[in-house]
Symmetry: D2
């Protein structure tokens, strides 16, 4: 079962339960300490993912191969939580996939960058801008850990002043003033290319939609999503009491050539 075995340098997710699971890089001779005792990392070498390892106190940890979402959720010093529900919707609305060339701004902790990078593989590329060099350093570290740094250009710069790339498939915005970036995003996108913006406040959304309309984008849509966990057990099945009521609104538009609204330039002879 080559490829599914733990070796020196492998990343593993040591899973005790839904709340207690740890992303660990396996190093010969090292110990990993938990509240349930320590694990000798040498014990993991040669094991297959899915197998278990015991802590010195006899607790059983399952050895899982980290997914890209494990990396996203465990991003170091994330300034903002990015939820799977939002990553999923951003992927769907941006239509980013294998081979896509994507501009992202801002990079932040690199959480969304990590997800995007994993999906453009092996031939696409993510160009991720942030004006804060210290964020780019942290994002580089998070991307390196996930093995995805090779698919990303981390760039320090202000996208409202300009985007260097041309004919990109998508622009994904997660910054305070997305409306100010829309004209620059328009220049960078190829015809029909997609802009997706993630914003927590409704005022950001109103300004961004207005900017998209002015720049001639079509198929403009804003959504918000809710995710509720369900506790499933025969006789006790119920949704969980607390849910995330709001993370942000997702706005999407597609670039047209011409830069004005369809309704303004069309001259229908009848309707």
């Amino acid at each position: 079962m080559s490829g599914n075995e733990v070796g020196e340098g492998s990343d593993v997710l040591l899973y005790l339960d839904a709340r207690r699971n740890y992303l660990v890089r396996v190093r010969r001779g090292e110990r990993f300490h938990t509240h349930r005792g320590f694990i000798l990392l040498d014990d993991l070498l040669g094991k297959s993912f899915g197998e278990a390892v015991l802590s010195n106190l006899g607790h059983r940890f399952i050895i899982l191969k980290p997914t890209v979402y494990d990396y996203v959720m465990k991003s170091v010093r994330s300034t903002q939580i990015l939820y799977p529900k939002d990553i999923g919707l951003i992927l769907v609305y941006s239509a980013v996939g294998p081979g896509s060339r994507v501009v992202e701004a801002g990079t932040g902790s690199g959480a969304l960058t990590t997800a995007l990078a994993s999906f453009v593989r092996p031939r696409g590329r993510v160009y991720s801008y942030d004006i804060r060099p210290e964020f780019q350093r942290r994002a580089a570290s998070n991307l390196e850990r996930a093995g995805l740094l090779g698919f990303v250009d981390l760039k320090v710069g202000d996208v409202s002043q300009g985007i260097e790339e041309q004919d990109v498939d998508a622009v994904v915005l997660d910054l305070a003033t997305p409306w100010a970036v829309v004209p620059r995003a328009r220049e960078a996108l190829k015809g029909g290319g997609i802009l997706v913006s993630f914003s927590p406040t409704i005022e950001q959304v109103v300004k961004t939609v207005s900017a998209l309309e002015e720049e001639g984008f079509v198929d403009i849509e804003t959504v918000e999503s809710f995710l509720r966990r369900v506790k499933v057990k025969a006789g006790e099945t119920r949704p969980e009491a607390l849910m995330v009521g709001h993370t942000g609104y997702i706005t999407r538009g597609r670039k047209t050539e011409g830069g004005t609204r369809p309704s303004q330039s069309a001259q229908p002879t009848s309707s």
Copy 2:
């Protein structure tokens, strides 16, 4: 701008507005008829995506390059609507991405197959089972149209009787009795591999979670998601009145080696 031009045989999305947009294959000499007049498909040849074309009545249609979701949403004779919110979550929870080997059952109209196939490119593969040959024919047609048939094996068969593939990364279930497939999914998955099941009723979820626990899966989680569109316009911004309140529950688990619950085989000396 090579690659972004319309040619003979190109698929285009002729976009009038959010409700009226049409997936059309460009054929020399043909006409496409709409309620706003017809479009001469010859007029599209050589245009770039993002540009517009006029119908004979003067209405302006934007020429967009179809995304994978446009293909999904326009799947022919879909038995069931698969919403972007569910596709996004299934992707995230299954961790399917470039290179993944995925078993799917049932194929249905091929809508989810289309989405999965687009993400495993270029080196992964989707093995999609359905017991109904007529569904496989329809799915083949939908996948061919989306240019993704080359990444999928469409198989006629009952996955509750067995899955031929081994060491797959993920099994994605969208069928009436997912719990009956869990033991077979366990055999097909590699260690740590992920099973995701999509089910409309809570009773299906309870049985599936119980089967996952019996088969030693961990990190079991069930969620449901809601998506609400927002009508955005300065002074009139409001969520839309109707929303999709339920499509299905998404249940996820990860395979462990051993086949029994972690809590049963662990012998902690203290806690």
Copy 3:
């Protein structure tokens, strides 16, 4: 079982199923026609609520006593649907109950007026304003049918110009420009009295909250609610596919004496 018998002039809800149920006033010698045949209203006389009556085609209708919500939901020519979820929240947030004196604007079809009137009985009163005389006539008709007209003063007038009542317990607003009414509502409310506003757009909410803050209201809160029906049947239990995603935001505040924000007039010597 006096009081639970149908007599001449009684209102009854003839219930076939959740979608087909009819609010009917019993008149001797009359017939009520349905798609399942007609019912001789004489057959109802002397029956108890909860009993059944057969149509001439043999279909069984249950005779129910209409609740106030049956009257609300069957209001004639309602311009806007008022959902039970919103009525319930408006009651809770306004703290309207037996004995309350309430100002409402606008009256509209009288749907909310009906609910409010039923709760202030027997000694409270609803003063309901609308600038459109034809709405007041329709509301009067709906209130009369529900037997609640005696608890309401229907007034034609513009509440942004002034409210005649003083020291009222609550002001409930369901109109286009609630912020313009806030100063008048302040004058009409007793100290500590409660204003509740129901608005569909977020821009209305922002302006109304701002007006409440300027007028010195405290305990200001805005909420929105969602209601989802669940189809319950062993083995097929699932939430309904469509739900009402938005009706309106509910904003509440309590009047203080002084008219300025607490934070502006307080001079704490420490914190």
Copy 4:
């Protein structure tokens, strides 16, 4: 402004902000201590509700008259939180109002009892059962504080063994096995009377709906509701991040005379 003045023995809500507000009974010569200093309760005597009082540290507290919901939310030692959204829906679905005779079980901390009692005033009555005498004592204390004890009969007993009242308008259930009470509720209800049950788990709902169907109830409906607060401030307006995702399902049915399902006893000659 008689009736709106604070006197010896008045209850007041001392309001600092949304999180810090205190239900206090005014006693001559006493002090009320807060983290913002103490308040001399003598300072409140003769003030009107809506006015402010300063703590010894100069912090301004607004003097509000407690609503029934303030009493509900501040119930002493509540075992379970009852949310305004649920109270509102229970009121609407049970059609409880002035004059209603209502059976409630179990009493619990008396939170829902308090709300129901406030609405049946002045001539209705709440008969509230609980098998645990200590809960009845606590509920009595909470009801007394809210001034509503005179409208409630607190009874120690097991409603699954029998309900003493006859011809009641509504039965409201908030207990672990509502389905076991449905036959007794049927006997206690008048024809057309309404049963409302509040249950956290879906399995409770399935059993309760089944019991309602067997006992011939009609107009059976199950709903769940969500409430989301919105932070409203120009330029920063956004729904709050956390929301209550689940409290319980609300199921409603209306009693028919006959005790069997309409569909079983009807003999339509055509459809």
